[in-house]
C-alpha cells in the first residue's frame, strides 16, 4: 500500500502516533545491505510495548550489528486492526512499513499469559500460518522469549524456537547460525531447528514428544533427533560487561513509562515464594555503581529525558544504593532530571533514603506487605514484620507524606478469613499511626490505598504445586475484605479476578492448552489484558470445545512428584529446593535471603553473583 494512503488511514483511528513511526532514536537501514531482518514483536499496544526495557536492550543490541536490522512491531488497537483487515494491510514493522512475513525472524516477548491471543492475532494479521507445522519454509522463523517462556508449552504448537533466560547472547548465536546456514545454501527448516537445538538456552518444542497418563497428567517428555533431555537457561554473568543501550527510541506520543530507565541489578535476594521473577532470574547480579552512573548519564544525554528511573526487582536491596544516589543526584539536579525509585522494600526504607528521595521528587510511596497477617507473610516468605511496616510508614509520615499505597494478594496458600480481615486491620493501624506521628503535615488527612490482586501460582516457584482458589471463593473473600473496611480513609481497589483465573489456567498449562488458545482466538479473543476486550465466558467455552478443563490446570493441588510441563527446562533453581520451600511454607517457616544465608536453590552453579559475595 502506498504511504500516502496508509497515512490517511492512520488518521482515521485513535492515537495514530502508535503506528506512524519516525521516532527519535529509531533505526532505519538499507534492507538490501543487511543479512538478517528481525521483527521484534511486543504482543500488546505500542504504549505498553515501548515501556518495556528488554525490548530496548535487544533492539539496540541487534541493531549495533551491521548485518542485522531489527524493527519494532506492536499489536494494533482494535480500531486499526479493523482498518487493516478491511483494507487488506498485512501487519508491518514500524521502521520500514514492510510486511513482517518477509522477515527472517519474528520474535515475540512473552511478558504475561494474557497476551497469548495477541501473539496469534499478530501472526494472523501478518498472514502467517499459526502452527509451526504449517510453516514449511525456513523463514520467517517464529521465536519467543521473556519470563513466560519458562513454561512455553501453551505456545509450543505455534513457536518454532524458544529462548530460555536472558537473550543478549543466545539470540545472536541463533541469528548467526541462521546466517551461516543460509549462506551455505541451507533451506530446510527442520534441519536448521535440529542444529539450533544444540545451542544452550534454545528450546525447540517440536523436538519433544509428550506422553500423558490416564488422568491427563504428563507421563514423559521424549527428546528427538538429538535434542537435549534438559534445556538450560542462559544468563549474563557479568552485568558490568553486559550490553546496555546508549540510546532509546523516544516516542513522540505518551507511553506508560515515558522515561529513561537504568537497570541496576538482575534477580532478587528475597525469595518471596509467590514471585516467579524472584526465582527465574537467580542469581542476583549487580551492576557496579560506577557503571550505572556513567550509563545513566549517557542515556539522559542522548534521549533528552527529564526523568530517570532505576529498575530492578527490589531497588533498596542494591548494596550501594545510597552512595549511588548521592553520585547521581550531583548531575540529575544540575540537569533538572527527576529520579524515581520504584520497587522499594518496606524493611530497609531508611530515613537517609527518604531524605534522598525527598531531594528527588515527592512521588507516591508504595509498599507491598502482600498479606495481612504475620503468619501468612511468613508462609509467603515476605520477611517483613508489622513493626517494619509501621516504622516505614511513620518515617514517611514524619517526612511529609500523607498517602501510602499498599499492595496485597488474596488467595495465597493457607489463607484464612483471619488473614483477609488482617488486611483491613493493618490498613486501620496505619491510619491510626498517622494521627500519632509527630511532624506529620498539619491539617491534612491521610489516605491509605489498598490494592488487591488475586494470587496466581506460577511455574518455578515453591507454589507451583498449589491449587488456585476458585472464582466463587475469590468473590467471597473480596466481599469479606470490603465488609471489613470501615473507614473512608482507606480506599480499596481490585484487580479483576476473572483475568487472574484465566492467567492461572494458562500459566501452568501444558501443550494441549495451545488448542484452547487457538480456539479462543478464532472465537474472537484478543487483548485479554484489557478489561474492555476480555471475555471470560468465551474462554470457558474454548476450554470446553477443546475438551479441557481449566480447573485441571489452575485449581488442582499437584503432587510434588508430578511431572510439570516445564520440568525438562532448567532455570537454575532445582525442583528439590522448590519442594523443600513449599514444605517450609506450609508450616509458616521462613527462609533467610540470599545475602544472609545461602538456601541452596541451585543457582550458584552459574558461578557468579550474590552466591559468591562475602557474607
Amino acid at each position: 500500500m502506498d504511504n500516502k494512503r496508509l497515512e490517511q488511514l492512520f488518521l482515521s483511528v485513535q492515537k495514530p502516533g502508535r503506528y506512524s513511526g519516525g521516532e527519535m532514536g529509531s533505526i532505519i537501514k538499507d534492507k538490501s545491505k543487511v543479512d538478517v531482518r528481525f521483527a521484534f514483536c511486543f504482543p500488546d499496544t505500542y504504549e505498553i510495548g515501548m515501556s518495556h526495557l528488554g525490548m530496548k536492550i535487544l533492539y539496540s543490541l541487534f541493531n549495533e550489528r551491521e548485518d542485522i536490522w531489527c524493527e519494532r512491531v506492536f499489536a494494533p488497537w482494535m480500531d486499526f486492526e479493523e482498518v487493516m483487515r478491511k483494507e487488506d494491510i498485512p501487519l508491518f514493522a514500524i521502521e520500514s512499513r514492510d510486511p513482517i512475513s518477509d522477515f527472517d525472524f519474528i520474535g515475540f516477548t512473552l511478558q504475561y499469559e494474557l497476551s497469548y491471543t495477541n501473539v496469534l492475532n499478530m501472526l494472523d494479521l501478518a498472514k502467517i500460518p499459526l502452527r509451526s507445522e504449517d510453516r514449511k519454509e525456513l523463514s520467517p522463523l517464529i521465536v519467543a522469549g521473556g519470563p513466560c517462556a519458562c513454561n512455553p508449552e501453551p505456545l509450543a504448537d505455534f513457536v518454532d524456537i524458544f529462548f530460555l533466560g536472558e537473550g543478549e547472547e543466545v539470540d545472536l548465536e541463533v541469528i548467526d547460525l541462521y546466517k551461516e546456514y543460509k549462506a551455505n545454501g541451507g533451506t530446510d527448516k527442520q534441519e536448521f531447528l535440529r542444529l539450533a537445538a544444540k545451542i544452550e538456552g534454545v528450546y525447540i518444542p517440536s523436538l519433544y514428544d509428550v506422553e500423558y497418563d490416564a488422568e491427563g497428567k504428563i507421563a514423559s517428555y521424549i527428546p528427538k533427533d538429538g535434542a537435549p533431555l534438559t534445556v538450560h537457561k542462559r544468563i549474563m554473568t557479568d552485568m558490568d560487561k553486559a550490553y546496555y543501550p546508549k540510546n532509546f527510541v523516544v516516542p513522540f506520543t505518551e507511553i506508560v513509562h515515558d522515561r529513561a530507565v537504568m537497570e541496576i541489578f538482575r534477580g532478587c535476594i528475597r525469595g518471596c515464594r509467590f514471585c516467579q521473577a524472584g526465582f527465574i532470574y537467580r542469581p542476583v547480579r549487580e551492576k557496579s555503581a560506577d557503571v550505572i552512573n556513567a550509563e545513566a548519564k549517557a542515556l539522559c544525554d542522548s534521549t533528552g529525558y527529564d526523568e530517570m528511573s532505576l529498575s530492578s526487582l527490589s531497588t533498596s536491596d542494591y548494596t550501594e544504593i545510597e552512595p549511588l544516589l548521592a553520585r547521581m543526584i550531583e548531575w540529575t539536579d544540575e540537569d533538572k532530571i527527576s529520579l524515581s525509585l520504584p520497587s522499594l522494600r518496606i524493611d530497609n526504607f531508611s530515613p537517609e533514603l527518604l531524605e534522598k528521595m525527598k531531594m528527588i521528587r515527592k512521588s507516591g510511596l508504595t509498599f507491598a506487605p502482600e498479606a495481612g497477617t504475620q503468619r501468612l507473610r511468613d508462609v509467603i516468605n515476605k520477611n517483613i514484620t508489622e513493626k517494619d511496616i509501621m516504622k516505614s510508614c511513620a518515617t514517611a509520615f514524619a517526612g511529609g507524606y500523607t498517602a501510602v499505597k499498599l499492595y496485597f494478594m488474596i488467595g495465597l496458600p493457607t489463607e484464612t478469613d483471619e488473614d483477609i480481615v488482617g488486611i483491613a486491620k493493618l490498613g486501620q493501624k496505619i491510619v491510626d499511626l498517622y494521627y500519632n506521628v509527630d511532624g506529620r503535615p498539619k491539617g491534612k488527612g491521610v489516605n491509605v490505598s489498598i490494592s488487591v490482586s488475586t494470587f496466581v501460582p506460577k511455574p518455578f516457584t515453591p507454589f507451583e504445586f498449589c491449587a488456585q482458589i476458585s472464582k466463587e471463593e475469590m468473590r467471597r473473600r473480596q466481599q469479606l475484605l470490603r465488609d471489613s473496611i470501615t473507614t473512608k480513609k482507606i480506599s480499596l481497589s481490585w484487580h479483576d479476578s476473572d483475568t487472574s483465573a484465566l492467567e492461572g489456567a494458562l500459566a501452568r498449562g501444558d501443550r494441549r492448552v495451545g488448542k484452547v488458545i487457538e480456539t479462543a482466538f478464532k472465537m474472537g479473543a484478543k487483548m485479554d489484558g484489557w478489561g474492555e476486550a476480555f471475555n471470560y465466558d468465551l474462554w470457558l467455552d474454548a476450554f470446553k470445545k477443546s475438551g479441557l478443563d481449566p480447573e485441571f490446570y489452575a485449581n488442582r493441588e499437584r503432587e510434588t512428584t508430578e511431572i510439570n510441563p516445564w520440568d525438562h527446562l532448567d532455570f537454575g533453581v532445582t525442583k528439590e529446593f522448590l519442594t523443600k520451600e513449599y514444605a517450609l511454607a506450609l508450616c509458616a517457616s521462613t527462609t533467610p535471603n540470599c545475602r544472609e544465608k545461602c538456601a541452596g536453590c541451585g543457582a550458584n552453579k552459574y558461578g557468579k553473583g550474590v552466591c559468591f559475595e562475602k557474607r
Binding site: K4, R5, E7, Q8, F10, L11, S12, P16, G17, Y19, S20, G21, G22, E23, M24, V250, F252, T253, E254, D258, T303, G304, Y305, D306, D335, K336, S338, R361, K362
Partner: protein, 217 residues
C-alpha cells in the same frame, strides 16, 4: 531571562503528534540542544513553553511558532538556533529563532494548502462551485461542548484553486482565540456534498497572519 520565539516546520512523522504531545517533544528537543533554557521555579521544575496556535492532528505546517525563555540574556540567538537545529528529528525543521514581534493573541488568520489525492472525486469545477455557494452551513462544536450552526461561506477570507498534477486549494480562514475555523470541516462538507465519505486529502498550514494581513512574527 529573555523571551524567544522559534519558527519551525512540522511534517512527516510529526504530523501524527498531537498538540499535547508536541509539548513534550519540544521540551526534550530543547533539553537535547543544551541551549540554556529558563525553567520554572518551584519543586517540579520544567521549561516554560507555549505554542502560538495549536495545529490539528494530521496537518503539516510550514510555519509553527513556539515561545520559550532563555536563562541567559546574553546568549547568542543564532548560536541557540543552530544548537536546536542540530538535534531536530526528521519532521521538524527550524526556520528561525528570534525575539517575538507580536503577541500570540494577535493571530487572526491562517493560510492552508489542501491537496486532494489523484483518486479523489474532487474537481476544480465542483470545488469552485462549492466555495461560491451563498451559504455553507455546518455544525461546529463550541468550546462549552454544545453544537452550533456556522455559515462557512462568511468565513472564507480568500481562496485559490490550482489544478496541475494534483488539485490544490489555497485557503485563508479565521484563526486564533476570537474565531477559529478548521479547514477540515469545510473540506469534509465539500466532499460529503459530492458523495465522498473517506477523506483523500492532506492539509498544510502555510502561514499565520494578523487581522490586517501582516505576517505574524
Amino acid at each position: 531571562m529573555k523571551n524567544v520565539r522559534l519558527f519551525f516546520k512540522k511534517s512527516g512523522p510529526l504530523r501524527f503528534v498531537s498538540h499535547l504531545d508536541m509539548n513534550r517533544v519540544m521540551t526534550r528537543l530543547l533539553r537535547l540542544s543544551r541551549v540554556p533554557i529558563w525553567y520554572t521555579e518551584g519543586f517540579n521544575r520544567h521549561p516554560y513553553i507555549t505554542f502560538a496556535l495549536p495545529l490539528s492532528l494530521g496537518f503539516s505546517s510550514e510555519y509553527e511558532v513556539m515561545d520559550f525563555r532563555l536563562d541567559d540574556d546574553d546568549f547568542d540567538i543564532k548560536t541557540a538556533e543552530k544548537m536546536i537545529s542540530d538535534v531536530c528529528p526528521n519532521g521538524i525543521e527550524v526556520i528561525t529563532l528570534k525575539e517575538p514581534v507580536f503577541k500570540s493573541g494577535k493571530i487572526a488568520l491562517a493560510d492552508f494548502e489542501i491537496t486532494f489525492f489523484t483518486n479523489s472525486v474532487a474537481s476544480y469545477e465542483s470545488l469552485n462551485a462549492f466555495l461560491n455557494l451563498p451559504e455553507i452551513i455546518v455544525s461546529k462544536k463550541t468550546k462549552k461542548g454544545g453544537i452550533k450552526e456556522v455559515d462557512l461561506a462568511d468565513k472564507i477570507k480568500s481562496y485559490k484553486i490550482t489544478d496541475g498534477k494534483e488539485l490544490k486549494l489555497i485557503l485563508r480562514l479565521p484563526a486564533g482565540g476570537e474565531d477559529n475555523i478548521n479547514p477540515k470541516i469545510l473540506i469534509d462538507k465539500y466532499l460529503s456534498n459530492i458523495g465522498e465519505s473517506d477523506g483523500f486529502y492532506t492539509v498544510v498550514r502555510t502561514g499565520l497572519f494578523l487581522a490586517d494581513g501582516t505576517k505574524f512574527e
